[in-house]
């Protein structure tokens, strides 16, 4: 399977997950979008050594995974994009911040190690939040929500159209890549002699296709305003969900819940 086919599979997988039904899937896209943004902002605002205080934030994605029935394994496969750069930056922390911060059974742990682990935990938590948003919300609902939040129509329509054509063009390129590699067995990538023509051919065809696409849109009544899929109203349950999420995030950020919980047993 080449990279394009893998990407197509990932897109299809996300579409399938978003089409499921669960209490989280049924929440309004605005409530899910705002709660996700709030969650990520709160996670990022924790100080670099606040590893213990950060841990209760993991409960929200855990609860959402359970309530939505979305498999965790699909999310963790996406870590391959997030972790390399985060690790590359975080791995230097133990080298430069060597002052002991805590002692675990007599073993000193430096501030750099704590900040490195905190950074990685933050990376994983933020990834899970973004993944859960898209695994429980279809692109149509998300775009309708973005329009409701007054994001410019041009950007939202462009996002929707691009998403639709991403699948079409990626599929076409996957076929081209397979055909190329069948004619050039053992070759790692596209040879320098075909650098321009390989993508260039598809680019020329795509520009013509864009013209045909516009003509077909006009024939169906397009006059600069795109019609989005109708979405349900923002109900009281959606408001309650959003308020509850944001309230809990604020509480965990302002009160050291982990320390308090630990204090119940150890003093």
């Amino acid at each position: 399977m080449n990279r394009m086919e893998a990407a197509l599979r990932e897109l299809g997988e996300m579409d399938d997950l978003a089409a499921r039904s669960s209490p989280i899937h049924r929440r309004h896209a605005i409530a899910k979008l705002l709660s996700t943004v709030g969650y990520i902002a709160v996670v990022l605002s924790f100080p670099k050594y606040a590893l213990a205080a950060l841990t209760p934030m993991a409960l929200w994605p855990v609860a959402l995974f359970q309530l939505s029935g979305v498999p965790v394994s699909t999310c963790f496969r996406k870590l391959r994009y997030v972790l390399p750069l985060v690790m590359a930056v975080g791995l230097f922390n133990p080298l430069f911040d060597r002052a002991p911060l805590v002692y675990l059974g007599g073993v000193a742990v430096s501030g750099g190690v704590v900040s490195m682990v905190t950074l990685m935990v933050k990376g994983v938590l933020c990834l899970m939040a973004s993944f859960l948003l898209m695994a429980t919300t279809s692109i149509d609902c998300l775009c309708a929500a973005l329009r409701t939040l007054h994001l410019p129509g041009m950007v939202v329509t462009l996002l929707l159209l691009t998403y639709r054509y991403t699948g079409v063009l990626t599929e076409e390129l996957a076929v081209m890549t397979t055909a190329y590699h069948l004619r050039a067995p053992g070759q790692k990538g596209i040879h320098v002699s075909a650098w321009g023509s390989f993508l260039g051919q598809l680019l020329l065809r795509s520009m013509d296709r864009a013209r045909e696409l516009y003509d077909s849109m006009v024939l169906r009544g397009y006059h600069g305003h795109f019609h989005y899929a109708p979405v349900g109203p923002f109900t009281g349950w959606d408001g309650l969900y959003l308020a509850l999420c944001l309230g809990v995030f604020a509480l965990v950020r302002l009160v050291d819940v982990t320390g308090w919980l630990g204090g119940l047993l150890v003093r």
Binding site: M120, G123, C126, I190, L203, W260, G263
Partner: protein, 347 residues
């Protein structure tokens, strides 16, 4: 170069969202003035093509590695800087939302680092002046050489600016302990090599398009048209910006606290001791609720003797933190068990 959410503080992420959002607003305003509704599907198809095209590996002769196209330069050369910028925004949004490549909060920063420099700096300061110049003489061969020069220089310069911005944003966020200079020295050479390869691949694609459909490549036949900025003035501006960024802003990166710390706890050395009124040392908020919670802790701590002589010591804090974290893990496990039972019952 896609930044993850974890590499940014909320304050830096918000500033980058504001910067990218303002640029997007100006771009939309200019595109609306042009009033060309047919451009929207062209932008969408162009964006989808670049998204897919970035997954193609181009073998670099003589090495075992490969490279891919530079989206910002390619789209701005075909669609113009404003349309290219908006197309890059949706590419980055799709990569972030569906592939977890970059983060939702880091989207503003990623747009700035990869789309703004590639589309606006690359087009106005490099692509257009070079294509309008008389470099390499006249004729189709000279135009192709100008396209190659503009693509390679454009990709190298815009990638360098993007990589520098990554370093600046990460350092200002207080994420890394790596000294600013060492971080810059690590990032810039890597992206110099990447820029050269991406420039070569982008040049190959644009030269092919120019050979087949020259009207699709912007400014391709504009040699001699007077531009607002000549190549010499562009070089002078870029040099000044480099000196300013390298010499001036780098001094700020190491000595100031990050924006969120400043906002929450203030900076006593600078005379801002209050701000949101939080005490950095105590890390928490004094309130009646907190007092009640403390008294509840007194009553429920069933291991009162398991204490450290110095209750303020890091070790004492660590033990309660570890126990608390373990309790969080137990709660998480309980949520999983209950959730699993609920789903089994209703499936």
């Amino acid at each position: 170069m896609h930044m993850a959410d974890a590499l940014l503080s909320p304050a830096v992420a918000a500033v980058m969202y504001a910067s990218s959002g303002t640029t997007a607003g100006i771009s939309i305003h200019q595109l609306k003035k042009e009033n060309n509704p047919a451009q929207l599907p062209t932008m969408a198809v162009g964006a989808a093509l670049v998204f897919a095209g970035q997954m193609i590996n181009y073998t670099i002769p003589g090495t075992g590695s490969s490279g891919h196209i530079c989206g910002g330069m390619l789209l701005s050369a075909l669609l113009g800087p404003q349309a290219g910028f908006l197309s890059m925004i949706v590419i980055l949004a799709i990569q972030c939302l569906f592939f977890a490549d970059g983060g939702l909060m880091a989207l503003g920063a990623n747009v700035w680092n990869m789309a703004f420099y590639g589309c606006f700096v690359g087009y106005y300061l490099i692509w257009r002046p070079i294509l309008r110049s008389h470099w390499f003489g006249d004729g189709a061969r000279a135009v192709r050489l100008r396209i190659i020069a503009a693509s390679v220089i454009g990709c190298v310069v815009t990638l360098q600016l993007g990589a520098f911005s990554v370093v600046l944003e990460t350092s200002l966020s207080g994420i890394t302990e790596l000294p600013f200079g060492a971080f810059v020295a690590l990032m810039q050479p890597i992206h110099l090599a990447i820029g050269l390869v991406e420039g070569a691949v982008t040049a190959a694609v644009l030269c092919f398009v120019y050979s087949a459909r020259p009207e699709l490549v912007r400014e391709a036949d504009a040699a001699g048209v007077s531009a607002k900025g000549s190549v010499k003035s562009v070089v002078a501006v870029l040099t000044a910006v480099t000196v300013l960024v390298g010499g001036g802003l780098s001094l700020l990166a190491s000595s100031n606290p990050d924006g969120l710390e400043w906002a929450l706890f203030g900076n006593a050395e600078s005379g801002y001791s209050e701000n949101m009124g939080l005490d950095e040392e105590a890390y928490g908020v004094e309130s009646a609720v907190a007092d009640k919670a403390a008294s509840l802790q007194e009553g429920t701590a069933f291991l009162p003797d398991y204490a450290f002589p110095d209750s303020e010591s890091a070790a004492g804090t660590t033990v309660s933190g570890l126990v608390g974290a373990a309790m969080v893990a137990i709660v998480a496990a309980a949520v999983c068990v209950i959730g699993g039972a609920y789903r089994r019952k209703h499936s």
